[in-house]
């Protein structure tokens, strides 16, 4: 599912003329179909000013939105080789190369430490643009690294998930990231430092069914898809139409699965406020 479209509405295009509006300056909101200038979108933390649709935000922009330039990236191990020699229509190593080039990231999780209103925190941020934010060995190890760093330095831990789940191309090794990340989070939590899990669009599969659902508090960004099984799989299994809003943040709040549903622009303020209770 590629939400980045350089598609400019034909109506507007014919109105202003092709040359005056380079396609790549505009983004079309997938929800309300309004067009938004890309640089405006970035300033608005990738939220549509017309309908509040939350676009997926890349890890670096997320990091900057929280800390400005005031953060330190924590290096995490990367994949040395492709242990399964996985190949579908493309080789896994080629998919990795392409994802690295497109995102300028080494893998799907970025770990950093920074200061939020005088409180030093550790963050781990998934980037959906890197192979759907899938969790393989490098992402799992990044979560482990973040937990260990936060534990060692006695810092609050905040993990922003945005992931379709385990990375199939690493097979069982990616499935093993479920117990690995749970062990790391579990061990960190014994220090009685707070772990805030922020669920953003989407948080599903092996990510939601491991560390992401184990936060002391779980916050969900507005209208994010959150769940274990994919809605298509569920629909095929039950052969019925799914309830309205199924697996959306607001739906999960109703079911008692998350603590808050929050607009992205309010997220930083909310986290600071919560940390004041947990980390006086």
């Amino acid at each position: 599912m590629n939400w980045i479209t350089n598609f400019v509405k034909p109506k507007l295009q014919s109105f202003v003329g092709k040359k005056e509006v380079p396609d790549n300056l505009w983004e079309t909101c997938p929800k309300c179909s309004q067009m938004i200038l890309k640089r405006e979108l970035k300033v608005a933390l990738y939220v549509c000013k017309h309908c509040d649709h939350h676009f997926r935000i890349n890890a670096k922009d997320r990091l900057e939105s929280f800390f400005g330039n005031n953060f330190m990236i924590i290096e995490t191990p990367k994949i040395k080789s492709d242990p399964l020699k996985f190949k579908d229509s493309k080789k896994y190593v080629d998919r990795l190369k392409k994802a690295k080039k497109n995102t300028e990231l080494e893998d799907s999780v970025l770990v950093a430490s920074g200061t939020l209103n005088k409180t030093k925190v550790t963050v781990a941020i998934f980037d959906f643009n890197f192979m759907g934010g899938s969790m393989g060995m490098a992402a799992g190890e990044a979560i482990v690294t973040a937990c260990n760093y936060a534990k060692k330095n006695k810092l609050p831990l905040i993990i922003f998930s945005s992931s379709g789940g385990a990375r199939m191309q690493e097979g069982i090794l990616s499935l093993m990231q479920m117990p690995r990340t749970v062990i790391a989070v579990n061990s960190y939590c014994k220090t009685n430092q707070p772990f805030l899990s922020i669920l953003t669009d989407p948080t599903t599969g092996g990510v939601s069914a491991s560390f992401a659902m184990l936060g002391d508090l779980i916050l969900a960004e507005k209208n994010a898809t959150i769940g274990f099984a994919g809605s298509r799989v569920i629909e095929e299994t039950i052969k019925e139409k799914l309830p309205q809003n199924f697996q959306k943040s607001e739906y999960l709040l109703e079911k008692g699965m998350v603590d808050f549903v929050i607009h992205r622009k309010d997220l930083k303020k909310k986290i600071i406020s919560i940390l004041e209770f947990l980390n006086p």
């Binding site: 290096e75 191990p77 990367k78 994949i79 040395k80 080789s81 242990p83 399964l84 996985f86 190949k87 579908d88 229509s89 060995m137 490098a138 799992g140 190890e141 482990v144 385990a166 199939m168 690493e170 097979g171 069982i172 090794l173 990616s174 499935l175 093993m176 479920m178 117990p179 690995r180 749970v182 062990i183 790391a184 989070v185 579990n186 061990s187 599969g205 092996g206 939601s208 069914a209 491991s210 560390f211 992401a212 659902m213 184990l214 959150i226 769940g227 274990f228 099984a229 799989v233 569920i234 299994t237 039950i238 019925e240 799914l242 309830p243 199924f246 697996q247 079911k255 008692g256 699965m257």
Partner: protein, 318 residues
Amino acid sequence: MQNFLDFEKPLLDIRSKIEELRHLKDTSENIANELSNLQDKYDKVLGDLYENLTPIQKVKVCRHQDRPKFSQIIDQIFDKFEIISGDRLFSEDRSIKGGFGRLDNKNYLIIGNDKGNDIDTRVKNNFGMAKPEGYRKAQRLYNLANKFNLPVVTFVDTPGAHPGVDAEDRGQSEAIASSIRCSINVRSPIFSFIIGEGGSGGAVALATGNKVTMLEHAIYSVISPEGCASILWRSANESEKAADSLKLTAQDLLDLGIIDEIIKEPIGGAHRNLESTCSAIKERLLSYTQEFEGKSSESIISQREQKYLSIGKEFLIS
């Protein structure tokens, strides 16, 4: 009559000939010799087939309707079994069974996926696909084991956690995540046996052993080959390729350092000899019990944590 898998057609052909000859009720030497030849041939073909199973064939064997299921295995292995039911929160999920087991005067806490032995139990047990209440029962059991310091034996055999609206509504993700966390904190040793299908996160919830052992033709995978094929190849017909690529056989998993040991199955697979399959599992269980006897809770928990934390390290670079 045995149920044959598609790739066992050569066996079925020989078996039909044997049945035909037997039907003649002819006791002449010629017929006796022919029968004996056919039986030899049958044994040879069976042995060769199972010696060289491809990944997709193993997928079929581990899902075989006659493959030993939880209740049969418990009956065979343990001297006594007391079932424990319910999650105390919502309902009883029959796809995950548990209870106290005794073997050679030692007590265990048993948790396992139960796909069911016949059509009736299969439906009741939701084909081994647990809902949150199943995982929450597992948490209860892990906590009991922890409180009473009972070694845990888990039997893994599930296509995966149940995909459904009800399961999602009651927090399938949270239930699986919390089960894993619960198992990690158990101070007694956990011995996990993957006896059939180890399907994705739903399997992991019961497979976090200090020892993880697989039957020779069992599988353990991040996604079913059919699911993988439909996503990556955009066609469920490519599941053979997906099965090859996913490295889901016991032999692959041993090489990747995911499991500790493989239990050899009888010729023709576990479903052709329940007794010998179970006696092999029992033998390993007794040996593991002995290995962990006298170990401190701290060392048991730490061994388990380190075991998982070290998985895959050789494929990463700092």
